[in-house]
Symmetry: D2
Subunit: 334 residues, 4 copies
Amino acid sequence: MTLRIGMIGPGGMGKAHIERIHTVISGGRVVAVSDVNPDNAKAVAEQIDGTAYATSAELINSPDVDAIMIASYGPAHKPDVIAAIEAGKYVFCEKPLAPTAAECEEIMAAEQKAGKKLVTVGFMRRFDASYREMKKILDDGEVGEALMVHCAHRNPTVPEMYTWDMAINDTAIHEIDTMRWLLGEEFVSARVDKPKKTSLRFEHLQDPLVLILTSESGVRVDDEVFVNCQYGYDIQCELVAEQGVVRLGDQELVHRADKLGRRNRLTMDHNQRFGQAFVTEVQEWITAVSQDRHTGSDSWDGYAAAVVCDAGVAALTADGEVPITMIERPALYA
Amino acid sequence: MTLRIGMIGPGGMGKAHIERIHTVISGGRVVAVSDVNPDNAKAVAEQIDGTAYATSAELINSPDVDAIMIASYGPAHKPDVIAAIEAGKYVFCEKPLAPTAAECEEIMAAEQKAGKKLVTVGFMRRFDASYREMKKILDDGEVGEALMVHCAHRNPTVPEMYTWDMAINDTAIHEIDTMRWLLGEEFVSARVDKPKKTSLRFEHLQDPLVLILTSESGVRVDDEVFVNCQYGYDIQCELVAEQGVVRLGDQELVHRADKLGRRNRLTMDHNQRFGQAFVTEVQEWITAVSQDRHTGSDSWDGYAAAVVCDAGVAALTADGEVPITMIERPALYA
Amino acid sequence: MTLRIGMIGPGGMGKAHIERIHTVISGGRVVAVSDVNPDNAKAVAEQIDGTAYATSAELINSPDVDAIMIASYGPAHKPDVIAAIEAGKYVFCEKPLAPTAAECEEIMAAEQKAGKKLVTVGFMRRFDASYREMKKILDDGEVGEALMVHCAHRNPTVPEMYTWDMAINDTAIHEIDTMRWLLGEEFVSARVDKPKKTSLRFEHLQDPLVLILTSESGVRVDDEVFVNCQYGYDIQCELVAEQGVVRLGDQELVHRADKLGRRNRLTMDHNQRFGQAFVTEVQEWITAVSQDRHTGSDSWDGYAAAVVCDAGVAALTADGEVPITMIERPALYA
Amino acid sequence: MTLRIGMIGPGGMGKAHIERIHTVISGGRVVAVSDVNPDNAKAVAEQIDGTAYATSAELINSPDVDAIMIASYGPAHKPDVIAAIEAGKYVFCEKPLAPTAAECEEIMAAEQKAGKKLVTVGFMRRFDASYREMKKILDDGEVGEALMVHCAHRNPTVPEMYTWDMAINDTAIHEIDTMRWLLGEEFVSARVDKPKKTSLRFEHLQDPLVLILTSESGVRVDDEVFVNCQYGYDIQCELVAEQGVVRLGDQELVHRADKLGRRNRLTMDHNQRFGQAFVTEVQEWITAVSQDRHTGSDSWDGYAAAVVCDAGVAALTADGEVPITMIERPALYA
Ligand SMILES: [Mg+2]
Ligand SMILES: [Mg+2]
Ligand SMILES: [Mg+2]
Ligand SMILES: [Mg+2]
């Protein structure tokens, strides 16, 4: 009755998923682990009283594993996702599904061959209660049609290894997926604006930057990416529609008044801000898989994010807009 | 490894607990049911593929049941709680622990004889993230000592069967427990003020009323109980301390601006407002019991709530303050 | 065309009124000054290029003075107010109208003899845009009838000379007047609750305290008076009505997010918080007087405040409620 | 001692200024009027008991007029402003100073010849308490250097005669001036993005649009102009700086909770939102002029706004960025 999960590549995110599954989520258990570093696999397996497999292929094909979670390095995702599909097992793959659109297409080909959606991509914001409420208000027609969305993605700081393209591929990718989901349409062009740089960053980085996306119907999304804003992990989103605007709430637990003013604490990282979204995401996946249902983002979402990210990265050095072209959407993902 | 739980008296609250345990909580499963109405026991048992017991005593003493949850009618709690204690099993009992202080004393006597805290009373607000943040700020000394707390407990409406004493025993009891926990001290007196009555209520009811409690150290707590406020389920709490004040946040998921102004939705009942607190409460209980640890409110908390409620009810018709006297706190609950 | 105003007793408040009248208010000018300290009168007169009078009586009766403002010490108010009435001149008297109800009655007697409302008492909150909006919502019937009002009057600190009765006579008097005006009825009883004292105060003072007033129709007003709250000048007011609640807004000019959280500055004194209300108050008075109209609080309001303050002071040492009895309201003030 | 003001072209804005000056502003009086429509001049003059002049030139040169206010149609401004300068009189000119940069240059030439700043342009937001607080925080270095500003300028609706260029020349011009003032630098390029159009507008209009400006130091300002947003007059501004962000506050007088949620009213037009800013603007001008001082926006500000508006209008139909080139700043405006 308990879903037996095999975890591939448990680093920080994978271990956090294990912790969640074992302490605050119903219906699943991580029973198997594999890792490019066998010592890590062994250590994690020991902690959870599970089995360490020598290779991800063995783990995927083990009869003792019902479903797969992939938390390895992005470039390693493709073969494991495809192997899981070929084994007929549901697979939860952390974002990105794969670093290139071409790899995502291969995954979709395998999935279409299997004739069934098995892949869920780990875009957790779709599970955040505030974003969900925003989408519900929009979908219920309470504010008319969407015209614009103003997003901001702010992190206190990033380390020196954070390079320019990561602003798109690792940071803005969250807004890219969330906006596709919120609006229910694809993007057709990307542009990047480069404001004055903060002095509080490593020299090589353009920070902040603004990614501007246009959707099929013309909705304009701007996403301020500012990863050295110093003050907090601050995720803003304001939907501007024909008859009203909707913003994410303040996420404040309490507010206080003291000598520093009337104030509330800000979250400092994505675990604080989206901790509950991660729990809901994995819970809904385990529940769905246990009932042989797909849930959450699918391979097409992974592909679309990859395509938009490619355009966004191109826009970093392009002059003006970069068009976004996608393959036709396969029927499986209609 | 999964905690096997026996549920006594599954009405609305009990069924909600079962639903939570089976869908979004880790480590437990309700496997047994009993009810004064055997048909209800049978129906619920069937739904969860569990066993219906003819009596609560049989359920409690079954070797197939590790821990007990009691969600029956308050007056029925005592014998079951004591039976669970005598069986050496952890028991989660919905509030009130028992309707009278005398019964709570009997429970404490049994528990002291067992020499171990086994009873948890279902006061869920202690598990609400906002109240917890407030308590942390106070306990960390960030605002100095508490001097006053202003509470409001507002419900949209109540049915005709809601009587005056229920304003204390069913409604204000939440603030009574939460304030004891927040302040870490007992109350020594209660008074009830009776404002102008709303016309939008059944004739027999004093609504709103204000319960005023004084703690051992002199902290003054006022609790506005207004159960026909029409507009929402609105739980307010403002802690006034020596160097600052702390309030519960707005609990808004999003806010919007439209023709009705800048606004956010209000919760309409305790399940909406405290849904996550209920989950956390039961999760923490299952986790603790699985590790043979007590967690949450204990029998002393149940006793103290009963005593303060008695004083509150007396204050409904008394002129002025009603003193609150408790027995000496047994060492087990120190 | 310019209203020629004579100012009696220009201390801090009087000078602030002069400054306002001469720099940001239309239609008036302070042309004459008197003071128990003739040097002060001379100094102020010189600054404004006006005339210093040896006595307030001479100032009041001067043909060069159209209207009177009294900003002297409260115990000195009565004879000057009466002299102004007898001279047939409009008079703006800072609160309190007079320290005792008996003196206020003498003033009302003089005014009734004059047959015309000439006296305005300086209760500036009636001119605050937020309180006015609250009153408009109530008067327009948008939230049904008022049932309770929760007020808080918090100051950062007070000096050692601030005595207990001043918590009523100087501090709570603002809520007393504002609530009479908001609710449109009189209070019939007063009680004072004494919470735990802050350690950050002079030893002789009960701080905070809570004044509880009941109106004719049963509306319950509580007013937390906390004059050493450390963190700001924080005026709170929440009206609880049958179909909704209304609170004063945050008064924030901007809010910011930085390392201290998401926050806005608090006002630190009544000039910051009610600066615009003072301007509006005096502007409306000058405009009205120039048109031979009365405006603002009248002598009855001054009397009623004095009676309620007396009860409040009695309640400081009384056990329980102190009844409030007023004379019948003269027709002039109907 | 009272500043005698001559008003040219009193339409809606001019009459509002007269009303303010005569009822809530100190130190000035409108004593003379002229208008292209002599009947209007006569009617207004009668109301204020002043003199109607046949031409603006006569009004400007009258010895009975100390200072000039121009509230006529923008294309008519230039000759009157120059005449006032040549008469050596201070002149308050409603925005725009003149519709073209060339005309503004003529005005600056005249003013330089006069050797003294005499012209104030009516950009009232510089006098809004919230914008001023934002600027103070920035200028005080509390949040580091400015990097970006996100603005929104939303109106409920506009009439059919509102054309596309007005979105820049009449609407965005406010942000153009306010951002120049806030940042203390000039803009070097403009671009316009065209989101999906709202269906709730006249067909000919692109609404909303986003104007993007870049300053000399690289600060990026985006200004969402949405003049048929339906729900209110909503002016948003968020300054993103190196160490924190600052936003305009909510401008709420009260907030309430009722069946529609927790909410506060929005302002519905610029008079509601900026009513006090208008008063402060005119008061400060009258006070300054009475002391022979210049205050507020000067001719250079009027010129710069015109140049940026020209670029903004060009950007409406251009592909990509339009560069902004200004003449060298004359020493008089340094
Ligand atoms: Mg994720
Ligand atoms: Mg409970
Ligand atoms: Mg006053
Ligand atoms: Mg203007």
